[in-house]
Symmetry: C2
Subunit: 358 residues, 2 copies
């Protein structure tokens, strides 16, 4: 078991990373202050892991809320079902919510914990690779609104995170790849030696090698934790975590959310950001090719869909010259392993990237 | 104009207290970081003060959300209307929400500000005496759930509070009295000289003497601010602010919310808490009479409704002997101007209080 601390002063918390952690009571129990626990999970995960989690919580008063599975249910109305459950089973201010699931369950459960009686305890047990390396670090919680993703939420830190590699055995290969996209991101934005490690070891991740997965999760969380500790509320540097995301969001919006996985859209978006970085002269053609090759080996898309014309990107990213002045900020590579946020963007080069990456 | 600072480290904020403050731009503008402002008010207040507030915000991009008036609309669904308005008018993370109204508008607007894009700016312009002395200090925001009052919310501090006595001119006399109940509370729990001042000056408050009102608001806010600064998240001492509230909530629940005003129920509840304090030997019969007399002069109820039998109180407060062990905590007077929180409660004395205060 590896333990990593996310260093946020009096809101610091540990991430436990390893194999066969879920059934053991010793990881979670020190982080549960009261006698009440509310497990929030979804219909897909509950049959797989709920009983194992419950078995490790002997002696607690446990209530379970099972949500429908999918990003389309990440809404205020569905969070209200968690409040219903908490109030019906009379949970008080000492209760602890445990999110057992992927990013959607984690985001909603964290937001519910932030708001229930103005804040109760919260533990994350991520069941996807993406949730382990992304949403379990940093305290971003919330829900979508019909007019925008993640528009309603809170910064709220868990008491601990339990990342059990064993749970990844049930993850569909496409979701495993989507998680690897975010892992590669950390190599690109802040940890070039990790990028090189990934070039050597990506195949081990793809076949579910638990030791390699644990190493990649720990190193990803460590990279993210450093950025978050420096800028918890995203006033500045934290924005580099959005590398590939502005292009990726345009793709997700155009395709309708859910057709491309988030990690897949980010993968294509990272290639676009790297392509623009190369056109600006900040990375070499060889380095750009290595970014693309690694993502291809991870079975991720490296181009936008055919119907994403440059005009469509311009529309979705709001980047016509009129509105551009200082508004569009992109995360680009100054070098491999070193991302910067910039609003100094040459629209001609950007147009070339749009045209090249389809 | 009097200025008072609520001292909460990097979340400290000023309360401006005086007359004719609303129309002046100089109070609010320094606390608005961006160009976007969203005013949230209700149907009753909008015709009275909305145009005056808008006139002081020349040059800003203003969106207005007008909510229905009343505690029954303090729900997650109605808060969602604020989110709808913010997103439809494309407000970004630099927007500032201004609550123009009483406690319900303030609680909902503060909660919306806490959650919109994980936290944006927020200013309170209370239009009731109760909101000026209670909800505008301390950062408690939130909404009700069908199964409990204020069960969903956040601790979230405003950037500033503007308490303009001029606005109290339109307040119905019954609501003025309800606000005075909370003012008397501060004298009882932590400021005996203020209680004596109120014995001298309560009639001036009742006739709307703006100088006396400003003094009472400032001194109340100062008392509350000291308690909140010592215990922002209600881990301990802050509970003394609930003096009279446990009895009062039982009355409100029994009568159905909205039939008694909150301040009225608290007034009767404070007499009950003082009565029990006298039975425990902590204040004298004369002091108890002074509490009752001052509340009567403020035109507030000093007994529970006739149909509130002792058995009904026992039921609503969950105080039968079986469940009592350590569960019921009451705020009582150790002396005039000195409240304590205790779970050491003699159920026989409590029964006498239930019987006596009808």
């Amino acid at each position: 078991m590896h333990e990593l601390t996310v260093d946020l002063g009096d809101r610091s918390y540990p991430i436990y990373i390893g194999e066969h952690l879920l059934g053991e009571s010793r990881w979670l129990q020190p982080h549960i202050p009261g006698k009440q626990v509310c497990i929030v999970t979804n219909e897909t995960i509950a049959p797989l892991y709920l009983s194992r989690l419950k078995a490790s919580l002997d002696g607690y008063q446990i209530h379970t809320v099972i949500l429908p599975d999918g990003e389309s249910f990440k809404t205020l109305e569905v969070v209200n079902r968690i409040f219903d459950g908490l109030l019906e089973s009379r949970h008080n201010r000492t209760t602890t919510l445990i999110a057992l699931g992927g990013g959607v369950v984690g985001d909603m459960t964290g937001f519910a914990a932030a708001c229930y009686q103005r804040g109760v305890g919260f533990i994350q047990v991520p069941t996807t690779l993406l949730a382990m390396v992304d949403s379990s670090v940093g305290g971003k919680t919330g829900v979508n609104h019909p007019l925008g993703k993640n528009m309603i939420g809170a910064f709220y830190q868990p008491y601990c995170v339990l990342a059990d590699m064993t749970l990844l055995g049930s993850l569909p290969p496409r979701e495993l790849s989507a998680g690897i996209a975010e892992i590669i991101k950390y190599g690109l934005i802040s940890d070039y030696p990790f990028f090189e490690w990934l070039e050597q070891n990506v195949d081990r991740l793809l076949v579910g090698d638990q030791e390699a997965l644990a190493y990649a999760v720990e190193r990803s969380c460590r990279n993210k934790a450093e950025v978050v500790a420096a800028d918890e509320h995203e006033g500045g540097i934290r924005a580099i975590l959005n590398f590939g995301h502005t292009f990726g969001h345009a793709i997700e919006t155009a395709q309708g959310y859910g057709n491309w996985l988030h990690g897949e859209a980010v993968a294509a978006g990272m290639v676009m950001a790297a392509d623009l970085s190369w056109r600006r002269g900040d990375i070499s053609a060889d380095e750009l090719a290595r970014v693309r090759d690694l993502l291809v080996r991870a079975r991720l898309p490296v181009t936008a869909p055919d119907d994403m014309t440059p005009a469509r990107f311009v529309e979705l990213m709001g980047v016509d010259k009129k509105v551009l002045d200082g508004r569009l900020r992109l995360v680009l590579l100054e070098a491999m392993g070193n991302a910067v946020v910039t609003s100094d963007i040459d629209t001609d080069l950007l147009a070339e990237t749009f045209a090249a990456c389809r």
